[in-house]
Symmetry: C2
């Protein structure tokens, strides 16, 4: 009986005119409603009239403080340099798309998409990755050839594990090549890029695992998986990085109704792991090569291996990956020591190995066609670098070495040795700004010189330009090196030039 | 009677278990429901089973193509340089906040906030600006001193006018100084920054209009506006950039119940416009100076004027602005010729003058305190540069001059003069990448030399490194200048160095 009154208490705004919806709520829903109301009540706080709320960011998200930003900017700069080194352009798309644009692209993961509230007008969702918006962009603008990168945040209502770098809002750095080209040349470049970026970022050992959707499909075929079960069995196989083989098998047989002997055959394949010799072995597997698609996939991987040898990149063939929209080669980069030999069950299935994934990608030749009214295809291959895990590692590295990271680039502090020189400091700092010098003053009218020098030491400003009555009279400025404490008088007209010289500014 | 069937037709997924809500919908709502259903039906397309949908970005949003990105990056780089020149750090916050964080901060504009759908868990909204998240960040981390910039997209469900650069998703570049300092020193630096940025971007003439919340409040006081009407009258005054005075007056008197003689008095003030002499005039206005807050505001503006003279920045005093969370100085930069004399009604109220606004800001000393359980304040002053209008102007400038903008930075194309040299091209391009050269190959196995040269001309690549059988034998590469068509043989070991030299890479 108390429920209607509580609802009334909690409603913040009167309902709009003409809102005459009458809702009869039955018992099963009441439990849920009560839970939500109690939650809301907790947020609104006690009844003393004072508005209380939790001061936090949304679940699974975080702020970046200046130090974290300095690390982030450094990582982005290395990645952007690599993308530019490979001749990529860049584009940007909105953070939300029409809900329909994302529909049917992510298989079972669709439930993780953030929807916007229907406030009248279009139904919108936050982007889940940068690949589907890219395909929408290509189709909408009828672009058939482009090599582009895109660095932006994406959104997934997944279970966050923030200490291990898994967030609901996270950055992806995507590089993709769209266009009809000769086999495996763009694919090889994408893998070369992953290799360059992970090397440049100095994250330690990593290993690149490669597969091909066609080998997976062919394997399912020869293992006796019915055509209409390929997708769902594939998504089971994809869980091998989180679950041991037995659990995956149980899911296939128990939940998805696959014959146990089919599952066992799949097991022998998906637990394989190796290099060029494994490709040869599989090319000699008479059973597997009965599948035309598997043979195509194997031959392409052989070519990819050749090209990557020319690029100086090594990878492992590992048959346990298969994401939804990929049609050809599929790859994933994992941090940690390379697993030349087949890993033990233990190694393969620990949580660390799964969150060690920092880049993934592959060929998706059908995605753009899904947006075209005539189904015209644009073949694409690309890679996506997941940044939060990388940021975590770089942050830990900085913590570890007690390295001091500057969060500003200020070259000089304009300081006063006596009182009543605010106006003179303002005039001089403006002169320096206008000459392109990064300069600051403190915002006190009469700051102490000691406090000004301390500010430099705390923030890493290397130089102080000190003004005093005498300096003003003589038309000079005392330039002090914060570390050596050396001081020299410099003619005011030469100050900007001297600061540039001492701080290595071109 | 047909309604329930149509609803069933359009539902894409079965309702969840336990969903027993029964809704009785009355007549007024039916019209709205039918409209929505018809809209949805139009989106879903005809009944021929083929899924049709509109290929577009969400209303009020847009993609950036590579050319637009090149312009955008250039503008950002000028702005970031300026922020760094003034010693600012940078931070980042999530794109959405708890809905409650935004509640009560935007007055009448709150209706323009994008809410996320309640998918279980927290109620979230997309950020409406960067200022409220900044205040939340300061309070949450108990930061009392920071000078930071933040460049990110914000979201407003406003009426878009995209040809004039008004979008629902748009970039803001914010610079703010938080901390207890001596009066008007940080405020002056914010205005100096606006001046530097708008000058650096070469957008043509602009003018900076300044006001102070305390002068507005004092003016309301002496004009006889009741205390509890300050906020709402202030938001009417704020419409003066879009509406003529008569309309604003009608709103104040008709809708908001202000006495007509009060409105008339306000009218004489808010239509004033001028420089230092206007401050003096107002300081001699006996009526206005009866208000203690107005006097405080006027004295601070006088000080601000002095400081800005030292910084070499001019501004206009204009009494017609007053946003919700500002407590002291308020400013706005408007593109177009400076209006030294009071503008005519016509000039002041055309649509162009309103969309000419490209930067706005002010002092907000109470916002951080709203997040603190004990109400502890952190005084702040800042400015926000609205980017979309600026991008539009820069894009138009580029279109106007038929300037060719490069969208990549590739220095050299590795090309082959004969067939069957793909592997050699791959080896050489990898050598160049590893030496830090920005290099490309075309993705054909046997491309024609002519096509490779054309690719360079189209994309602006300045150099071609040509491989042929002879060059391979001699250990050289033919380096061709695309513009002059000059060719020289260069020892392969010296190639990277030569390319750096010719493209001015340090």
């Amino acid at each position: 009986a108390w429920l209607p009154y509580r609802i009334k208490d909690l409603v913040q705004k009167p309902l709009g005119k003409g809102f005459l919806k009458v809702c009869v709520i039955y018992s099963i829903q009441i439990t849920e409603e009560v839970r939500k109301l109690l939650e809301l009540k907790a947020q609104l706080g006690s009844n003393d009239g004072k508005h209380q709320f939790v001061l936090k960011t949304a679940k699974g998200t975080r702020d970046y403080n200046p130090k974290q930003m300095a690390i982030r900017e450094k990582a982005f700069s290395a990645i952007i340099n690599c993308f530019k080194r490979h001749g990529a352009e860049t584009i940007d798309t909105p953070v939300f798309e029409l809900k329909e644009t994302l529909t049917g692209k992510y298989g079972e993961d669709s439930k993780l998409i953030y929807d916007l509230k229907d406030q009248g007008g279009e139904l919108l969702s936050l982007r889940y990755d940068l690949t589907v918006p890219f395909a929408r962009y290509l189709s909408m603008n009828k672009i058939t050839n482009i090599k582009r990168y895109h660095i932006a945040k994406v959104y997934r209502r997944d279970n966050p594990a923030m200490t291990r770098g898994r967030y609901r809002e996270f950055y992806q750095c995507d590089f993709d090549i769209a266009g009809q080209y000769d086999p495996m040349i763009p694919d090889a470049e994408c893998l070369k890029i992953v290799h360059e970026i992970l090397s440049d970022l100095k994250l330690g050992d990593f290993c690149i695992k490669v597969n091909d959707r066609r080998i997976l499909d062919g394997m399912f075929e020869v293992c006796g998986v019915p055509d209409d079960k390929f997708r769902t069995i594939c998504s089971s196989v994809d869980k091998l990085d989180k679950l041991p083989w037995e659990d995956v098998k149980n899911e296939m047989v128990g939940e998805k109704g696959l014959a146990p002997e089919s599952a066992d055959k799949i097991g022998t394949y998906v637990q394989l792991n190796g290099g060029a010799e494994l490709i040869e072995k599989l090319l000699n597997d008479i059973s597997l090569c009965q599948s035309k698609v598997a043979l195509e996939g194997l031959n392409d991987l052989k070519l990819l291996f050749q090209y990557l040898t020319l690029f100086g990149v090594k990878f492992d063939l590992s048959l346990a990956r298969g994401l939804d929209y990929y049609t050809g080669v599929i790859y994933e980069a994992v941090l940690g020591p390379s697993q030349g030999a087949a890993p033990t069950q233990q190694e393969e299935h620990t949580e660390t190995s799964s969150v060690g994934s920092v880049a993934a990608g592959g060929r998706y030749d059908n995605l753009v066609g899904m947006f075209d009214s005539k189904g015209r295809k644009v073949p694409c291959v690309g890679v996506s670098i997941g940044m939060e895990r990388i940021f975590s590692i770089l942050e830990q590295q900085v913590e570890g070495t007690e390295q001091k990271i500057r969060t500003t680039e200020t070259q000089v502090l304009v300081a006063a040795a006596q009182k009543k020189l605010l106006e003179e400091r303002m005039k001089l700092v403006a002169e320096l700004w206008n000459s392109g010098i990064k300069a600051e003053i403190t915002y006190k009218k009469n700051p102490k010189l000691l406090n000004q020098l301390q500010y430099c030491e705390e923030t890493g400003i290397p130089l102080v330009a000190i003004l005093g009555e005498q300096e003003l009279k003589d038309g000079v400025v005392k330039l002090r090196d914060v570390v050596t404490r050396e001081e020299v008088d410099i003619l005011r007209v030469n100050l900007a030039e001297q600061i540039k010289k001492r701080t290595g500014q071109p």
